[in-house]
C-alpha cells in the first residue's frame, strides 16, 4: 500500500543529511515525528546542487564538510527505527558513483519509501534505470512544474502510483523569498490528472498559511529551506510548533 496517502492533508519537512552536525539525522527524525510530520525528505548533499537556492547550497556544503556521504548515510539510516515514511532526495552523481543498483538495494534495506532524483528526467529514467527500480520495487517520485505537458504528467502519474508526484510551485530554485505563487486554475487541472497518485507541492513554502493554501489543491506540502533556516539559528522547535 502506498505510504503517501491520497486525500489526507500531509505536512512534510526536508532536511539535509549531515546538517547541522554529521550525526544530526536520527535526532531530526525524532523531532519531526514528535511534531507529527507525515513524511520526511532526506537530502543527500552534493557539491553542485543546480536546482537549489543559497539555503540548501549552504547546508549541503556544511554537510559535506562534516563528512556526510552515501555509505555513511545508509549506515545511519540502518540504525534508525521510525514509522514515518522516509524519502531520499539527491542529485544523480553521488548515486551513480555509489552504484545505482547498490543504491536502490540499500534504500530497500533501510526501508526508504521513495526517492527523488531531481536531475533525472522521466525519459532517461525510463530508458536506463526503470528496470532496476522495478526489480527492487523501489518507487521513484518525479518532479513536475505547472509547465509540464499533460501527456508527460500522465506517464509519471502511472509510474508513481506507489509514491507521489512532487509539484514545484513556481519556476524557481529552492528557497526563494518571493510570495508563493499558485495558479489555481492550472493546479486544479493538474490535480485532475493524478488518479490515485498523491500530489505534493513544494519549493517556496514557508508558513502555516502557505500550507493551508497548498492543501486546497494537493495532498501535501513540503517545506525545505524555511525549516533549514530555522534549524540554522536553533529555532526549529518554534518553527514546527507554528505549522
Amino acid at each position: 500500500m502506498n505510504p503517501f496517502i491520497k486525500n489526507h492533508k500531509q505536512k512534510s519537512i526536508f532536511v539535509t543529511a549531515g546538517y547541522p552536525k554529521l550525526d544530526s539525522l536520527a535526532g531530526q527524525i525524532k523531532l519531526l515525528e514528535k511534531y507529527n510530520i507525515d513524511f520526511i525528505e532526506i537530502g543527500i548533499p552534493f557539491s553542485d546542487p543546480l536546482a537549489d537556492g543559497p539555503t540548501i547550497q549552504k547546508t549541503s556544503e556544511v554537510a559535506i564538510k562534516n563528512g556526510m556521504n552515501l555509505p555513511l548515510l545508509f549506515e545511519q539510516l540502518a540504525k534508525i527505527k521510525t514509522e514515518t515514511p522516509l524519502v531520499l532526495m539527491g542529485y544523480l552523481n553521488p548515486v551513480l558513483t555509489y552504484g545505482i543498483e547498490k543504491f536502490v538495494s540499500s534504500c530497500k534495506d533501510c526501508g526508504i519509501a521513495s526517492v527523488i532524483l531531481p536531475d533525472l528526467s522521466f525519459e532517461i529514467y525510463a530508458r536506463f534505470y526503470k528496470s532496476i527500480f522495478d526489480q527492487y520495487q523501489l518507487p521513484i517520485s518525479f518532479l513536475i512544474t505547472p509547465q509540464t505537458e499533460t501527456e508527460r504528467i500522465e506517464k509519471m502519474v502511472t509510474q508513481c502510483k506507489e509514491s507521489f508526484i512532487y509539484l514545484v510551485s513556481d519556476n524557481s530554485t529552492t528557497g526563494t523569498d518571493s510570495e508563493m505563487n499558485l495558479n489555481e486554475c492550472r493546479l486544479k487541472s493538474i490535480y485532475a490528472l493524478m488518479d490515485n497518485t498523491p500530489l505534493m507541492i513544494g519549493f517556496g513554502i514557508k508558513t502555516k498559511s502557505d500550507i493551508e493554501k497548498v492543501h486546497q489543491f494537493a495532498d501535501g506540502a513540503i517545506i525545505g529551506s524555511a525549516y533549514l533556516r530555522a534549524l540554522e539559528v536553533g529555532t526549529e522547535n518554534a518553527f514546527l510548533e507554528q505549522l
Binding site: F46, Y91, S121, T145, T176
Partner: protein, 397 residues
C-alpha cells in the same frame, strides 16, 4: 555501431555512446525542449545558415589562415600548420559559437542573454554578440577568475555586459556555470548561451556544429596547400572541448586522421593540482550531461587546477568523453610549465603570442611521436593578450 563514423553525432536523446543526454531538473525541461525544436528547424534552413556565414566572414574575419610554421616544421621534422583562430574578432574561436547562438536566440525572440565564462573569452564573445544584436547580456564568472582575468572583465563591461561574480563553491568556471543555470531556472525567458560543448542536449551538438567551421576550413586550406584534404594529426586543447570539437569535426569519419585532445595537467598528474579530466576523472553527471568528471570517491565534484582559466573545468564535453573512451581521440596532458615554455617559444620564433589554453596544444607537439611524413595541424584557439600578466610574471621573476 561504427564508433569511428558516428562518434560526433548524438542519438535522439543526445547520447554519444554512454555519454551526453539531458540530465536536467524538470524546471528546465521546457527551455531545453524549445531549444531542441527551434534548432532542429533552423539547422538546415538556408537563410539561417547564410546569415551565420555572412557574420563569420564580414564580422569575424573568417576564414582564418592556415599558416605553415617553418620553424616548428624544422624543429619537429614534419609539416606543422597552425589554424589561426587567434585572428578571429575578439581573439578566440569562442565568437563562432556566440554568433551562431545569438542568431538562434534572436529567432526565439529572446531579449536577455546569459552566459558563464572562465577565462573570459566566451564572456567577451557573448558580450560582443549581444552588443551587435542589441540584446541584454549577463555573464557569470567565478570570483577567482574575475581576479585573474581582469582585462577580459573590463572588456565585457565596456561592451555593455553585466559581469556577475559567482561566489558559491570554488568560485571558478564550474560555479559560474551553476549560477548561470540557476539564473536560467529562475528566469526561463532568458537565453542561456553556453560556451563549450557541454551542458544538456542539444547544447553539445549545437556548439560543435557552430565550431565545425574550423575543420571545414582546414580541409579546404590544406587541400590548396598540399593537394590532400586530410592531415595525419589534428591537435587541440580541451577545456570543455569546443575548439577541439570544431577542429576535429570533419575528420571524425576519416580514420586515417589522428585526433589528439590536450588537457591541462596543471602541476602534474599526480600532484593533486590538475585538470586532466579524461585521465583523472570517472563517468558522472554534471551541468546537465553524463560525461567524464573529476570527483572524489563519494561523487562530489573536485576542484580542478590549471594555470589556464579556460582549461580549469572538472568535466569535458560528452562527445570527447565518448571518443576518448572508444579510442577515436587520443588524450594527452601538458603541464603549466610545458605550456608556458611553448607560449614563449612561439612568441619568440614566430611572432605569435598564443593564449595559455592554445599553448597546451602547441606543447603537445613535444609529447607525441612524429615522423617525417606527418602533416600536423595545431588549432591555435586564441591569442595571448589576456595572459600577458601571467607570462610577464612567470618569465621575469
Amino acid at each position: 555501431m561504427n564508433s569511428t563514423i558516428d562518434t560526433h553525432i548524438p542519438d535522439e536523446m543526445g547520447f554519444y555512446g554512454e555519454f551526453g543526454g539531458a540530465f536536467i531538473p524538470e524546471l528546465l525541461h521546457p527551455n531545453v525542449e524549445e531549444l531542441k525544436t527551434v534548432y532542429s528547424n533552423l539547422k538546415n534552413d538556408s537563410s539561417f545558415k547564410s546569415d551565420f556565414l555572412k557574420l563569420l566572414s564580414d564580422y569575424v574575419g573568417r576564414p582564418t589562415p592556415l599558416y605553415r610554421s617553418e620553424k616548428l616544421s624544422i624543429e619537429f621534422g614534419c609539416e606543422v600548420y597552425l589554424k589561426r583562430e587567434d585572428l578571429n574578432h575578439t581573439g578566440a574561436h569562442k565568437i563562432n559559437n556566440a554568433l551562431g547562438q545569438i542568431l538562434l536566440a534572436k529567432k526565439m525572440g529572446k531579449v536577455e542573454i546569459i552566459a558563464e565564462t572562465g577565462a573570459g573569452q566566451h564572456g567577451v564573445a557573448t558580450a560582443t554578440a549581444c552588443a551587435l544584436m542589441g540584446l541584454r547580456c549577463k555573464v557569470f564568472m567565478g570570483e577567482i577568475d574575475i581576479e585573474r582575468q581582469a582585462p577580459n572583465v573590463a572588456r565585457m563591461q565596456f561592451l555593455g555586459a553585466e559581469v556577475i561574480p559567482a561566489v558559491s563553491g570554488s568560485r571558478t568556471l564550474k560555479d559560474a556555470t551553476n549560477e548561470a543555470i540557476r539564473y536560467w531556472i529562475n528566469n526561463p525567458n532568458s537565453y542561456y548561451l553556453i560556451g563549450s560543448v557541454v551542458g544538456p542536449h542539444p547544447y553539445p551538438q549545437i556548439v560543435a556544429d557552430f565550431q565545425s567551421i574550423i575543420s571545414e576550413e582546414i580541409k579546404k586550406q590544406l587541400f590548396e596547400a598540399t593537394g590532400n584534404m586530410n592531415p595525419t594529426k589534428v591537435i587541440a586543447c580541451v577545456g570543455g572541448g569546443s575548439n577541439a570539437a570544431g577542429a576535429f569535426y570533419h575528420f571524425y569519419d576519416q580514420p586515417e586522421v589522428e585526433l589528439i585532445a590536450v588537457e591541462a595537467a596543471g602541476l602534474g598528474l599526480g600532484s593533486g593540482k590538475s585538470a586532466a579530466t579524461s585521465i583523472l576523472g570517472k563517468p558522472g553527471v554534471l551541468h546537465g550531461s553524463k560525461t567524464i568528471l573529476m570527483q572524489n570517491e563519494f561523487g562530489q565534484v573536485t576542484e580542478p587546477y590549471s594555470i589556464s582559466a579556460g582549461l580549469d573545468y572538472p568535466g569535458i564535453g560528452p562527445l570527447h568523453a565518448h571518443s576518448i573512451t572508444t579510442g577515436r581521440t587520443i588524450g594527452v596532458s601538458v603541464t603549466d610549465n610545458e605550456a608556458l615554455e611553448a607560449a614563449k617559444s612561439l612568441s619568440k620564433n614566430e611572432g605569435i603570442i598564443p593564449a595559455l589554453e592554445s599553448a597546451h596544444a602547441l606543447a603537445a607537439l613535444s609529447k607525441i611521436t612524429l615522423n617525417s611524413t606527418d602533416v600536423v595541424v595545431v588549432n591555435l584557439s586564441g591569442r595571448g593578450d589576456k595572459d600577458m600578466a601571467t607570462y610577464i610574471n612567470h618569465f621575469t621573476v
